[in-house]
Symmetry: C2
Subunit: 476 residues, 2 copies
Amino acid sequence: MAPQLDGFFKQVDDLSDHFIDRLSQAVAIPSVSSDVSRRPDVVRMAHFLEKQLTALGAEVELRPLGKQPDQPQLDLPPVVLARYGRDPSKRTILVYGHYDVQPAEKTDGWNTEPFTLSIAEDGRMLGRGSTDDKGPVLGWINAIEAHKKAGIAFPVNLLMCFEGMEEYGSEGLDDLIMAEAKKFFADAEAVCISDNYWLGTEKPCLTYGLRGCNYYAVEVSGPGQDLHSGVFGGTAQEPMTDLTRVLATLVDTDGKIQIPGIAEQVAPVTADEASLYDGIAFTMETLHDALGSKTTVFDDKKSTLMARWRYPSLSIHGVEGAFSAPGAKTVIPAKVVGKFSIRTVPNMEIDKTNELVYAYVKAQFAKLKSKNTLRVYALHTGNWWVASPKHWNFSAAAKAVERVWGVQPDFTREGGSIPVTLTFEQATGKNVLLLPMGSSTDGAHSINEKLDKKNYIEGIKLLGAYLHYFAEEPKV
Amino acid sequence: MAPQLDGFFKQVDDLSDHFIDRLSQAVAIPSVSSDVSRRPDVVRMAHFLEKQLTALGAEVELRPLGKQPDQPQLDLPPVVLARYGRDPSKRTILVYGHYDVQPAEKTDGWNTEPFTLSIAEDGRMLGRGSTDDKGPVLGWINAIEAHKKAGIAFPVNLLMCFEGMEEYGSEGLDDLIMAEAKKFFADAEAVCISDNYWLGTEKPCLTYGLRGCNYYAVEVSGPGQDLHSGVFGGTAQEPMTDLTRVLATLVDTDGKIQIPGIAEQVAPVTADEASLYDGIAFTMETLHDALGSKTTVFDDKKSTLMARWRYPSLSIHGVEGAFSAPGAKTVIPAKVVGKFSIRTVPNMEIDKTNELVYAYVKAQFAKLKSKNTLRVYALHTGNWWVASPKHWNFSAAAKAVERVWGVQPDFTREGGSIPVTLTFEQATGKNVLLLPMGSSTDGAHSINEKLDKKNYIEGIKLLGAYLHYFAEEPKV
């Protein structure tokens, strides 16, 4: 029997301005986890969530995680652990989100102030963290509030785990999840994470697979300090020259990774899998819109989806230590650190991949016969994840999507990595569902990140509806 | 007859604390010409010089240079034009220096605050601009003051030209020099520039040649905005991949430029020239000290000096638009601008070199068969310069060096470029001398830039003594 949801939906609509104001308040806190100077803001964001949840009657704990490994003086931001409801007759679900955000500066090219939620006439709500991941985190809180205000019984016991280091490798979280699996999280019958995106802009999806991410640093150093290129150019071996030549050997323009042994680890495509891609609601036009260009590697949907979901990719992110400002500076940087990452897929192994990367980078550098010094190391690693989309957790979510959006969702995988997904699966032994709120054009990690008002408000309805279907879906 | 200089020298020693205090005041003004937000400080530095010069009785004008070409809203800092003395029975000399500095932040790795002059026990005076070029500029002012206070007649009419955009391509200065050649500068019988360094740390030198500098930007763009590497990795052609692959083809680890046609433009080494290098006071140990490492291209002095003075070099300075901060950011930058420069030598031509660079970069990019868009252009260019070291301007300076330092100077060329040198030569038709104050370990453009107290104080004596010899040297 389909749950009664009309009263809840109406209440969400009635509270929509209030919910948007809550998102404005959250975006205004620049909780950039990778920026040491912003750490107090990250902590402030944890307290903001604590206050909102406590006001609604949830039990909340801020769990300290100790010091940050690469900054031993610095406290990690706390994990917000919360419980709403303790009725043994109800099912219990665990939801996860993160309250930290990527860096953002107006000067990066934003059209609006990144830490002020700016609402355009077409409903785009611009601001860092709007879609990644403050909108979805607040979605759970808003769903609680709408139930309370509508006087509708909450259908489940809701366990919440909101972290503040997701954009910096979820430092410290794995240990907490492992430790709490049989304690705070013990009652959870399944897990839901809302921290990814629709494949396009029109059709919702449920996500059952993610790529992993191994993030590497290649450091080349030589001189004791930065040098003037006039005085020393031609007489010193330059670290930036060496680094550039090493980075240039990693991947080609069409994204083909040049490191031997990587492709050999990738699971072959089965006939079953190959047939899956044709039905997915995705067009190259959607990709062009999201890219803002037609500079794609492939011209067809199937190759594109496979490149994104089931093949590894390698991106060069930038160089630390070199001249990076506008204008001209005639410097020979003394020490430069190239950053690149590999998105990993079944059946790649983290340690094996690291070994292949280290050996290849060292071999490329050795070819240069340079007197400079090379180091290559991983800044963080995280495994890929694939779950069963036939689980009742997914069928409950599919019914909720159909109820709210009027369409059957696509079952998709994703190119991004949310390493905690795998940790939750391994720690709890339960099925994990990824239930996205935002759409493909939201621009997480980019300038002008946004969440559409419709996705936010209907997304709140979806999260709430999902909890109702979750409460009654047959466990098959 | 050797000029009487003892009274002047004693006065310089007596005023040394006062002269160091003047340098402290100048270093405290962060006149960074490449940083738009520091423009008021650059202008403040011009007013500081005006005030010092006026107090000593010089006639001073601050000449506006109009707007900055790449920042049309922004006024260029003024040129400080000054004259000290109008005695038609004396010779007239034109001296040049610059009062702007390179960028500097404590977080770049400075041991001290870059805009506070910090004096170490061994006499190193640390601070941005101490040696490049505030110390030498103040050297002329200090020489005037010491003459006044000692009651010694000033030996020449001194014309001064101090600019505020040297570290950003001397924007606007060439036109002024051309326009004033037969006006403000009309009486000058020779030119002296103190804006370079000794070859080592012990022996002074006079410099008669400089390399030029063509500074290039290579821009690769594709997506409409920065992208998340998880979502788009493998599906988009990445500008940073293309840029890295293009930059990697420019130069090898031993500094050999890979662009065809560059080496062919370089003047061949004559037997006369080849014999010059052996006598120069320079050792590989000096270079190792200045580098802070042994990561040199060559192991011998002669090859090293030739690489620095008479062969071109290519340095990759960095990338604008990519991730450049510490930590990890999983971004695919949408538009990246690689910066590199070529130090040029006789008989390379600017336009020819530009054409070779543009053609090569475009050809390398074309090989990638990328859908991204490439632009390559020069941010600034400046020609090489070689003067006659047999001119009486040089012999006057040589006598002054011998008087102050007790040794015959080496006659050297330099690897850096001071494009204004050539402009002065062409505009005035007079001999130009480069008379350095600082030593090879001063670290201009680096962190922990310094000027040794001894070089500053003896340098003031040298500039003053040079003016006396200049006044009476036979014009042969």
